[in-house]
Symmetry: C2
Subunit: 571 residues, 2 copies
């Protein structure tokens, strides 16, 4: 390709709404353009890189035995109702009504569509295992799209769905996908870490995320440098000890705390109750019912863990009105003690760290009062104990006990064991060897393809621009004659090298613009071609060209040896 | 690929809602499955063919110098309002409202999105010409989806948009695209005819369609076997003579016609007015205004020609109430004579065939009466003359005068010269050599990719199934060992041939199913692999295999010569 024939609209400055480096570089290098908030056009070079990433994904998926197909983007509402996800996913689903008043969703993921298809076509264990994948546009109604392709309304995903005869067989497929993902990201030049993850609203039984450590990531990973434990903080646990029980449970006592409505205020004189001796009482509305959640005063509720426990992501903190009606108190005076609650039938979920704790302080469910000497066992009726807290840096690793660290990261891939939730709901069953009808055991496996593209930029850059790994660069080689006159020696040699590279299957771009060398070099560095070949009159006079790996040092090379010097760099 | 590893769910019978052969074959061969009305999943083999067609399109578009990019599917409503198409396209646009109450359309075409992008990135004549294309999902809210991929709600299109400095330059690009399209369809194994077409709601100034003759086509083409004239009947003209004027215009005269409200009734005794001496008066509501259209009694109004004349496709026949209010008469008694109309300000569009006609009969705008001896020139105030009639088979070709024929056809591609409508509306301007700001002259070029796939099936089949052209077959070769036992001689040879073909880059499928030969042959014929290689014990005993080109005759071949006999058939 010649630079003047394609369109590479580089920019000196990124638009103001690009907050993070990779987003800025995407725009500055002319790889993408915004059509509207959260919706981007892939310009010619951006699309080339996207296609290369897609091809890597395709090759590794095919190698694993998965079958590519293409499910529609328009999904009838009915199948989402059948799976029970229409409601929990309603905030992220784009909804479309057609002229016949039928409702459709724009696919954010395709468990329903693929399971309905499999239900129609798979009948026998002989047809299993099957793993179907597709690469295409997905949609999520992001309220606040930002960070370019990292949180967009429309994006490209590879999604795969596996069907197996048993849990054991599904585990084998899951591991194959885990391995394929490691290869895919490695081939894209990305350093990822696989972490234990929350299954969240997917309803999966086990899952792992592939993460790119990055300051601007939207996820947090807790990890242990000693034993390689790593988990999304939504899922991470630790060996932190339970709250120490005191020897004798003194009787419960109410005391006045006028105006005190926070854990912090109660820590101060005259009350001086440390946060770790307080019980934090939260009231949530989940599936139209109130629930109470108890965590220690110095802990934070982990909503992902709560979602896993209650089996839905559709919940929210109750409103002040709802709370007052249920407890007779306002938020800030809520308490854990059963006898002080107006309604007894509310389910209570308590964090395990509170198990056996006594001598605790909590709200009295009466504005302006707290209770001291509360014993969880004696005074609080807990319906379900669970790990509901957010792990903090420095807590002991659940595997080896060494202190955990926490860092931010970008999720680029996710593998789930799904079980039979969808196959039961949508009728994907098979007859086993004995003729018994059974639901397929499923897994699902996603890669954010456009997100991976941006993650590569986030990981591979310097002050001058992007540094593309050879495997996913828009063009592997940029040939830069410093004189663009078609009759100049520089241009003639540039054309010759361009033809020779093309013949060898190396995609190259020839910068045939009539621009100053500085402009050409700056643009080539910004766009991030892995290898730049400079052809100037001074070096020509010495019988040389200049080979400059992006991010490496300039290497003069004899013209006669040009190709054999360039070729190894392009692989 | 091994047959047992992929999924080819062939069917004996097509589902009842598949009305036409190509749709039935798509389903029976397991290439696609319906997810919902007008929305299909591409199964593994269907997707392979789709990708091959896409790749042919891509190669020819790239060869023509066009640049691939990817515009989003979600288009903000605002750009469609800027171009003025939100209203005329409202019935075909899928509308989406996001959680922030912003409105989006699912792209049915992308003139607005690409022109807005070009407006931002193109500044100078030095950057032109540019021709951008994409291959991807498009959406139309079809009220009655049918015929499988021919009229679907979601489909794959290649759409291209060119930007030039002048009409002459745009004409060059248009011709390049016309040539590329001919090559693309030929490479797909399709026999197409390029016909003159109506530009309809695209607002283009000139256009051509690529058509596949087919009984079930939704379009009609008028063509001349003598001179190769061919045009969509929406656009076709003929050398049919104007209505003969009689020598003396007799005075106009009203006569009673109780109960006569059709052209046919007036043809009968006692009135006996031939249809070709009647004026048909139609009243339409177009852009909230009534218009009158006059055609001869034996002609039909061509609504596409009317759309081209009035510049919008948003019109409909007026209701009886609207007509009565405007004329004082009911439909069936409407007349062309100006003086009899209640409202004079209504614009009158008349078909050119009526120019100079006299001695005509028409309604009196009074129920139960008609007027005779009407002279168009004397009695009817015509605002605009135009070709507004539907051409009939047998009329003289507009080029050579020989009789036209008419046949049905499927449109697979369309090339338009667009002019500056979109570039003006969306600000795609450039500075010319003298520094003057000018709008780009645009063209747009569409190929229905999924439609092309089905058109190939419609054109290439026999009673046993599909006959894929080698270029777009899901697999070029199907190897059919009649014994699937891995240790059989047949299977061992099958594996060897499979490996040799794969090594030579020929995609083959190995039917490793433990099925009767009849089932295997039937499935291979149904799916339509171009070359089938039968390996049975009888022929093996003779040292032979059987090569069977789909739709051709069986050719025994020595095992030692197998490859050299197969290879030429795969190209």
């Amino acid at each position: 390709m010649r630079w003047t024939q394609t369109l590479i609209p580089t920019l000196r400055e990124a638009p103001a709404d690009a907050e993070i480096l990779s987003h800025k570089l995407l725009l500055r290098s002319g790889l993408i353009r915004k059509l509207a908030a959260g919706v981007y056009t892939f310009m010619p070079l951006g699309l080339r890189t996207l296609r290369k990433i897609e091809q890597i994904v395709r090759e590794e998926m095919d190698r694993s035995g998965a079958l590519e197909l293409a499910l529609p983007i328009l999904h009838p509402k009915e199948i989402w109702e059948q799976s029970g996800r229409a409601e929990p996913w309603r905030n992220t689903l784009f909804k479309v009504k057609d002229s016949g008043n039928r409702e459709w969703f724009l696919s954010p993921t395709a468990e329903e569509a693929v399971t309905a298809m499999a239900g129609g076509e798979i009948n026998s264990y002989r047809q299993l295992p099957k793993n179907f994948y597709q690469i295409g546009a997905k949609f999520r109604d992001e309220i606040r799209p930002r960070f370019g392709l990292l949180r967009a309304k429309e994006f490209v995903m590879k999604d795969a769905y596996s069907f197996d005869v048993s849990d054991e067989a599904a585990q084998v497929t899951y591991q194959k996908m885990h391995d394929a993902y490691s290869k895919i990201f490695a081939r894209c030049g990305l350093k990822t870490i696989a972490v234990e993850a929350s299954s969240g609203a997917m309803g999966g039984s086990f899952s792992a995320e592939f993460m790119i450590p990055a300051e601007i990531g939207e996820d947090e990973v807790a990890y242990c440098e000693a034993c390689n434990y790593a988990a999304n903080t939504e899922k991470a646990t630790s060996k932190i000890p339970k709250t120490a029980a005191r020897e004798i449970g003194e009787p419960i006592g109410k005391f006045a705390t006028p105006g005190v409505v926070t854990i912090e205020a109660l820590q101060k004189a005259p009350y001086s109750v440390p946060a770790n001796r307080q019980i934090k009482t939260l009231i949530y509305m989940a599936a139209s019912k109130l629930i109470i959640i108890l965590v220690r005063g110095d802990d934070q509720l982990n909503e992902a863990k709560l979602a896993g426990k209650i089996g839905t992501t559709v919940f929210r903190p109750a409103t002040a009105e709802e709370i007052f009606e249920a407890t007779g108190a306002h938020p800030g005076s809520l308490g854990a003690v059963t006898s002080t609650r107006k309604y007894q039938e509310i389910q209570v979920f308590a964090d395990e760290r509170l198990q056996g704790a006594n001598g605790m302080t909590t709200g009295a469910n009466e504005d302006g009062f707290h209770l001291r000497n509360v014993s969880i066992e004696r005074d609080v009726q807990v319906n379900q104990w669970a790990d509901l807290r957010v792990v903090q840096a420095g807590e002991p690793c659940p595997n080896c006990g060494k202190p955990l660290k926490i860092r931010r990261a970008i999720e680029v891939g996710h593998v789930y064991k799904l079980g039979t939730k969808f196959s039961v709901a949508l009728g994907a069953e098979f007859l086993d060897e004995s003729g018994a009808r059974k639901p397929c055991v499923m897994g699902c496996y996603g890669i954010g393809v456009t997100r991976t593209l941006q993650a590569v930029i986030e990981q591979c850059n310097d002050k001058d621009g992007i540094i593309w790994p050879v495997s996913v660069a828009p063009y592997r080689v940029c040939i830069t004659p410093l004189n663009a006159d078609p009759n100049s020696e520089a241009m003639k040699l540039a054309e010759k090298i361009y033809a020779e590279l093309t013949e060898r299957g190396i995609d190259a771009i020839l910068d045939d613009r009539d621009e100053r060398p500085g402009v050409k070099f700056k643009d080539a560095d910004l766009v991030g071609f892995p290898i730049r070949i400079g052809i100037g009159e001074k070096s020509l006079a010495r019988g040389e060209i200049e080979i400059k790996p992006r991010g490496g040092t300039l290497m003069p090379a004899k013209i006669s040896e040009a190709l054999e010097r360039i070729m190894p760099l392009t692989q």
